[in-house]
């Protein structure tokens, strides 16, 4: 077993007992990145110097007797988190060279906890995409099959964890961008309740949907990572004041008495048979573990895609208006007026998917269409949320597939935006309702990972972790992809 094979809990044990130092652990990861990231391309930037100095400082703290759940643990961060003094691009040309003078709250909390920053990971540009192919700089490959996508938009972070190039990682999820790549890469990922984790310093895509969440190899690790960053933040007016519970305490309990709902509508037309079989088998396991499994109908599920693709782009069109070449970022050369600067900077600096969504969003908000599109979508959102509220009156969690397919080949969906959007049908409704959702590997189909999605009520992360941990124990170890 190599140092990079240790999951976070195991790594902490080894660090605490002095079996390994953070510097050694970090070097092991940096070495693995150097060997494999050329093929996987998970990292936009490897922050080796910073990682080493983080590790040295962590070792000092460990020597001084400090014990913290992430102290000395090497992590990767999606390049959507502003990192003080370290380039943050959101995988866009328009932010190439942008160096924030401040840390996102999440980054500051991880730093305070003594985590080690290995680097910034690749993503779909401005978090818009489901395959990481929309990155302006490069595509990331799925460690399970380098000709396939890792999912998106947090593909780099998911791939880094799957390929054991980081002990854990963070990404963001707006319509499925943590859960779907977690499923496609065979790792655990959780999008918490909206407001559970601060969005301050997280480059905004859709303000009422964006959430920060972790990727990890085990459920316990995911809980550890979430606990380290969750909690109210005075810099984020939408962050929840509720205290963060002890997630680990929830995870030892069995599933007797837990009511598990299975929404029919998530087994969509076009779902791959291998995916369906794997998920249904996992649900059977839950029943065998003593859970009360039953069907539930969420009648507005089919409308989630249209709803999401009106609301998210609308908010994004405003959030991305600040990229105007005035304060930071790219400015097109030779511009002769501010209008010229805006038009050409944004033409050069944004990729096609970003432009498409800005246009869609602008249209949805524009005079004459606001009521028919944006307001209508917000009303349907209320109906979608009501479906969940009703379901959670009878069930403690809902389970479903995370994605209707396993990882698809690079380039397979890039010509048809709508086809790409359909990757997220199982994750979008949860985002619209602001509810927590976790994805964990439940099997392989044609050698590629399948994800089981566990959805909870608002602030229901404890129950989700409980169900996920019980399933994980029953399932047994999940293989890691082999990289040559």
């Amino acid at each position: 077993m190599e140092a990079y094979d240790l999951n976070i809990q195991e790594a902490r044990e080894a660090l605490r007992t002095g079996q390994i130092s953070s510097v050694e652990l970090t070097e092991a990861y940096l070495d693995r990145i150097a060997r494999f990231d050329r093929s996987v391309q998970a990292f936009l930037a490897v922050t080796a110097d910073r990682a080493r100095s983080d590790a040295r400082r962590a070792d000092e703290r460990i020597r001084a007797g400090e014990d913290g759940p992430l102290l000395g643990v090497p992590l990767a961060l999606k390049d959507i988190f502003c990192t003080n003094g370290i380039e943050t691009t959101c995988a866009s040309r328009i932010l190439k060279g942008f160096v924030p003078p401040f840390d996102a709250t999440v980054v500051a909390r991880l730093g305070a906890a003594g985590a080690v920053l290995l680097g910034k990971t690749n993503m779909d540009e401005f978090a818009m995409g489901s395959s990481t192919e929309n990155s302006a700089f490069m595509s990331t490959r799925n460690p399970w099959d380098l000709e396939r996508v890792p999912g998106g938009s947090s593909g780099g972070s998911a791939a880094a964890v799957a390929a054991r190039m980081a002990a854990g990682a963070f990404g963001t999820d707006t319509g499925g961008s943590i859960r779907q790549p977690a499923a496609l890469c065979g790792v655990v990922g959780i999008k918490p309740t909206y407001g559970r984790v601060s969005r301050y310093g997280v480059i905004a895509f859709a303000s009422s949907l964006d959430q920060v969440g972790p990727f990890a190899r085990t459920v316990a690790d995911a809980a550890t990572l979430l606990a380290a960053v969750a909690g109210s933040d005075p810099y984020d007016s939408t962050s929840l004041p509720n205290p963060v519970p002890d997630y680990q305490a929830a995870m030892g309990r069995d599933l007797h008495g837990v009511r598990v709902g299975v929404p029919d509508e998530y087994f969509v037309r076009g779902i791959e048979p291998g995916v369906e079989a794997s998920v249904r088998q996992a649900i059977d396991t839950l029943a065998e573990l003593g859970a009360d499994v039953g069907p539930v109908s969420m009648g507005h599920t089919a409308y989630a895609l249209a709803t999401y693709y009106l609301i998210a782009p609308a908010e994004a069109s405003a959030n991305l208006a600040r990229y105007d070449s005035v304060k930071y970022g790219y400015r097109a050369p030779g511009v002769t007026s501010t209008l010229d600067a805006y038009l050409r900077t944004r033409a050069d600096g944004f990729g096609p998917e970003v432009k498409r969504r800005i246009m869609l969003g602008t249209y949805a908000l524009s005079a004459g269409y606001y009521d028919a599109f944006y307001v209508k979508a917000q009303k349907v959102r209320t109906l979608i949320k009501a479906d969940f509220d009703n379901a959670f009156a009878d069930f403690d969690v809902l389970v479903a597939p995370t994605s209707p397919s396993v990882a698809f080949p690079l380039g397979a969906k890039t010509q048809d935006p709508l086809a790409m959007y359909l990757s997220d049908v199982c994750t979008l409704p949860v985002s619209l309702a602001g509810l927590p959702g976790l994805s964990m590997p439940c099997g392989l189909s044609d050698g590629l990972p399948v994800g089981l999605q566990i959805i909870g009520p608002a602030l229901g992360e404890e129950t989700i972790f409980r169900v996920a941990a019980a399933y994980e124990r029953a399932r047994g170890p999940f293989p890691a992809p082999s990289l040559s």
């Binding site: 060279g97 003078p101 599109f373």
Partner: protein
């Protein structure tokens, strides 16, 4: 739902996106297809349903009126594509 090239031009201008003629045509097709899918929402009767204003039940989130240190000016200007002395610099605003 079909949108015209003019619509595309108008939206691109509102969003200050300088798109090429090719892009206009491509976007027109793609946006029309996407918007066509959005029409499914009209199937739903939402009369009497309030729009989701906020997905979280928070209200009255405010801070005390206290001053905290601002950024050093160098940090404000460091990322600027163009600057002059203590200021950000932009090409002429011609309107």
């Amino acid at each position: 739902m079909a949108i015209s090239l003019e619509d595309v031009e108008h939206i691109a201008h509102l969003a200050r996106l300088g798109i090429s003629d090719d892009e206009k045509r491509t976007f027109r097709e793609q946006l029309s297809a996407i918007l066509e899918h959005m029409r499914t929402l009209t199937e739903l009767d939402t009369s009497g349903i309030p729009p989701t204003a906020q997905v979280i039940p928070l209200r009255n989130v405010m801070r005390d009126d206290e001053v905290r240190p601002s950024l050093p000016r160098e940090d404000v200007l460091r990322n600027a594509p163009d600057r002059e002395g203590e200021f950000l610099r932009v090409p002429p605003v011609l309107d």
